[in-house]
Symmetry: C2
Subunit: 418 residues, 2 copies
C-alpha cells in the first residue's frame, strides 16, 4: 500500500532507537522510580544540565523579532552562521585557520546533515565507507531514505585505522563493481573514544583524493576531550588551510550541539565545506533540513558567550566528563574489565570478554539481554556497532553521578551473579 522504499521502517526500529524508547517507558529516577531502567546506551550529556539551565534562563536567550516569524535563515540565520564561524575558529581550530560563515550551513541535526550529504554526494547504491566499530546510525542516516550504500571497513589489531586499510577497502569495492563516493572519518571516534592524529587524517585524505572520494570528517565530539596526551592534542581537519588540503572540493566537516553542549533537543548540526556546488545543494534543499529561527537565536547566544564558555561551561564540562570517565573505568576495573584508551567523547569502550562463556555474538547479546531485562541497565553491545570481535560494550558515562553509581553497581552485580 505504501512505497517499497519505505518498508525499511515497517519492521523493528533500528537497535539504538528501539532501546532508547524502551528505556523511556520505565525510566530510572532516584526518587520516583529507583528500580527503573538506566540508559547508558544513548549518547546524551546530562552532566552539565545545571550549567545549561542557568544559561538558558538568562534574558538574552529567548527573544523575538518580527522578521523571525517568517521565512528567514532556513540554512542558518546570518547571526547564527557568524557565531558558528567564530566559534569554530576559536575553539575547533584554536585560531589556526579563520572560518568563514559563507562556508557553513545549518541543518536540523548531524543525522539530518548526514542524510543530506549522502544524497548530495552519492547516487542510490553508490558506496560510502565507514570504519567499524562505528556509531550505528551512520548506516541508518545515510541509507534509510537516500539508499546510499554504507559499507564498513573492519578495523583490525586493536581497532587501528590505517591508510592501507582504506586503500584495500576501496579496491575491494571497485572489484565488486561498486562506485565509492565517500569516506566517513569520525574523529574523536565513536565508540572507541580515540583521537586520530592530523597526520593520519592527511594520509587518509590523500587516499581519498587519489580515488576522487569525498572525505567527510564528523567531529561532533571535538570539544569533549578530557584525556588527550599532552604531546598529541586533538587536531580538527579545519586546522588544515584550504590550499593545503589534498582535495578541498571533496573535504567536508560536520559538528553540532548535541554532544559537546548536551543539547540534542536543539536539533542543530553544521556542515563546513569549500565546495561551492555542495553548498549550493544544501541551500537548495534547506527547506527540508531547516531549523526554527528563535531556536537559532538561542544557539547563537550560547555559541557567542565567550566569557561563559571559557570560564564556566567548557572547563566544568571537561572536569565532569573526566571524573565520570575515571569513575567508570576504575569501578569496572575492580572486577577485571579493561577499557580501551578513551580520550574524548561521552563513552568508554570496554572489554567484557572475561565474563562471556565464549567470545561469540550469541553470548554477547545474551549478556546485553540479561543486563537490559533482568538488571534494568542498557549498554550497547559492540556487535551493534559492527564490531566482529565479540564481547565489547560501549558505556555512556555522562549521566548524573547518582545514576552512574547505581548503573555500575547493577552491572557488577549482574556479572558477579550477586
Amino acid at each position: 500500500m505504501l512505497s517499497k522504499r519505505s518498508s525499511i521502517f515497517l519492521g523493528e526500529p533500528e537497535f539504538l532507537v528501539k532501546c532508547m524508547l524502551k528505556c523511556a517507558e520505565d525510566e530510572y529516577d532516584s526518587e520516583t522510580n529507583p528500580s527503573g531502567r538506566i540508559n547508558l546506551g544513548t549518547a546524551v550529556n546530562a552532566l552539565v544540565e545545571d550549567l545549561i539551565e542557568d544559561r538558558l534562563k538568562k534574558s538574552d536567550v529567548f527573544t523575538h523579532k518580527r522578521e523571525w516569524q517568517h521565512y528567514f535563515g532556513l540554512n542558518g540565520t546570518p547571526d547564527l552562521l557568524h557565531a558558528a564561524a567564530s566559534f569554530l575558529t576559536k575553539r575547533v581550530t584554536r585560531g589556526e585557520v579563520t572560518m568563514s560563515p559563507g562556508n557553513i550551513r545549518l541543518v536540523n541535526g548531524v543525522s539530518g546533515g548526514l542524510e543530506a550529504l549522502s544524497w548530495i554526494l552519492a547516487d542510490t547504491g553508490e558506496v560510502i565507507l565507514v570504519p567499524v566499530p562505528t556509531y550505528a546510525r551512520f548506516f541508518a542516516d545515510m541509507n534509510e531514505r537516500m539508499k546510499t550504500e554504507v559499507v564498513g571497513i573492519h578495523l583490525e589489531d586493536g581497532f587501528v585505522l590505517t591508510p592501507g586499510l582504506l586503500e584495500r577497502s576501496i579496491q575491494e569495492q571497485l572489484a565488486l563493481g561498486k562506485r565509492v563516493k565517500g569516506f566517513l572519518f569520525c574523529n574523536p571516534n565513536n565508540p572507541l573514544g580515540d583521537i586520530y592524529s592530523l597526520e593520519l587524517a592527511k594520509a587518509l585524505m590523500r587516499v581519498c583524493a587519489k580515488h576522487g572520494i569525498h572525505f567527510i570528517s564528523d567531529e561532533i565530539y571535538a570539544l569533549s576531550i578530557f584525556n588527550a596526551d599532552k604531546g598529541s592534542p586533538f587536531k580538527s581537519v579545519l586546522t588544515i588551510p584550504e590550499n593545503e588540503l589534498p582535495d578541498p572540493e571533496r573535504t567536508h566537516f560536520m559538528w553540532g550541539l548535541s554532544k559537546d553542549f548536551g543539547l540534542a533537543g536543539f536539533r542543530m548540526g553544521f556542515i563546513h565545506s569549500y565546495s561551492k556546488d555542495l553548498l549550493q545543494c544544501l541551500d537548495g534543499s534547506c527547506i527540508y533540513t531547516c531549523v526554527p529561527t528563535h531556536q537559532q537565536h538561542m544557539a547563537a547566544t550560547l555559541l557567542g558567550d565567550d566569557l561563559w564558555l571559557d570560564n564556566k561551561f567548557f572547563p566544568e564540562n571537561i572536569r565532569r566528563l573526566s571524573e565520570a570517565h575515571s569513575h567508570t573505568v576504575n569501578t569496572l576495573g575492580e572486577i577485571g574489565i579493561k577499557a580501551f584508551r578513551a580520550k574524548a567523547g561521552l563513552f568508554v569502550w570496554l572489554d567484557f570478554r572475561k565474563y562471556l562463556k565464549e567470545a561469540t555474538r550469541e553470548f554477547e547479546m545474551d549478556l546485553f539481554q540479561r543486563l537490559f531485562n533482568d538488571h534494568n541497565v542498557y549498554i550497547v553491545p559492540g556487535s551493534e556497532f559492527g564490531c566482529t570481535e565479540f564481547g565489547w560494550f560501549r558505556i555512556i558515562f555522562s549521566v548524573t553521578p547518582k545514576k552512574l553509581e547505581v548503573a555500575l553497581d547493577r552491572i557488577k552485580r549482574a556479572l558477579l551473579n550477586l
Copy 2:
C-alpha cells in the same frame, strides 16, 4: 563530482525561492528603503505581526526544562501533539470529530512533510497528481530529493475541479504505463483562494479509493477563511469520521503554522493519518524531520491559548485579511482587473489579460519582468503555477497596509504606463 540526483540544485533555484531571495536583497521599507522591492509573491502573513509579538513576549512561551535538552519528542512532544489534537478538533473540525494525538505527527514544515509523504507513499518515478494552477512548490517538495513524479491535472472552464477530470487524468497516466500513488487536494486552494465542498472532496476520494490512490488533503489555509458563503462554509476532510471515509488507510491531512499563524519561522507542520503503517514510517524517519523542543513548547502554548485565539487572534486576523483582500480587489478593479472569487488564503488570483498584448506566456512573463525589474514589485505569474491560460497573476495581500498601498500603486502605474 557530486551525485547525479543532486544536480537538480546546481541550476537556477526554483522560481518562488529565487524571487524571494532577490526581494530580500533590496527589501522595501517605508522609512529606510522606500524605493526597495515589495514582495507580494511569497505567501507570508505579516498582518498579525503585532498580535504574535505581544503573545510571544508573555512569560509562558519561552521556558526551559532539563529533559528538553535531550532527544525528546522528535515526532512531536506529548504536550504539542495533545495541543494540536485539541486545536484541530475545536477549530478545524469545529467539534464534529475528535482528533487523537496518536494519529498526529509533527514535521519541520509542511514542505518537509510533503517530501516525507512523497517518499513514504510513492517510489521513484511513481506519480502524484496535483490540480493546476497550483502552489509551485508542490512539484518541488515531492520531487527534488525523493524523485516522485508530480503530474498536473489542468483545470478547465474557470478552473473547476471535478471527479471526472481526476478519473480522466488517472486513466491517462495508466495509459502511459505509470503507477499513480497519490492525489494532492489543496483546500482552501492555493493560488485560487477557492473553497471546495465536502461533497466534492468525498467524490474525489471515491475516485481515489477505486484506484487505490492516496488522498492527501493539504489544508494549510484552513483557518484563513475570510469570505465564505454563509450556506457553504469550509469543511475539512477531518470532519468525516474514520468509518465514513471511502479509504481511511489512504486519507492523510496536513496543516501547519506558516500561514494561519504567519509563523513560517517556526518550521512546523502536522500530518494526520489513520494509517498505522504511515505513522510508523513517519516515526522511523523523524530524526530527519524533527523540530527543536523549546520551539515545540512555544507552539503548544499558542495552540492551547483558547482565550487569546477566540477573543483576539483569529477574529482580528480574519478581519484584517478580509480588509486587505477587499482593498486589493477594489483598487485593481478600478483599472479593470477582475479577481477570481477568493474566499480564503493570503492571496487573490487576478486576471491581467486586459493588459497583455496577447494572452501568451511570453507576454505574461514580460509583464512579470517589467513589474519586478522596473517597478520593484514582485507578483507571481500564473504560468509559474502551471496555469496554461496566460495572463493570471497571484497577489499576496497579507502584507502591512502601507506596503500594500505602495505596491498596488506601483502596479497601477506600471499598467497605465504612468
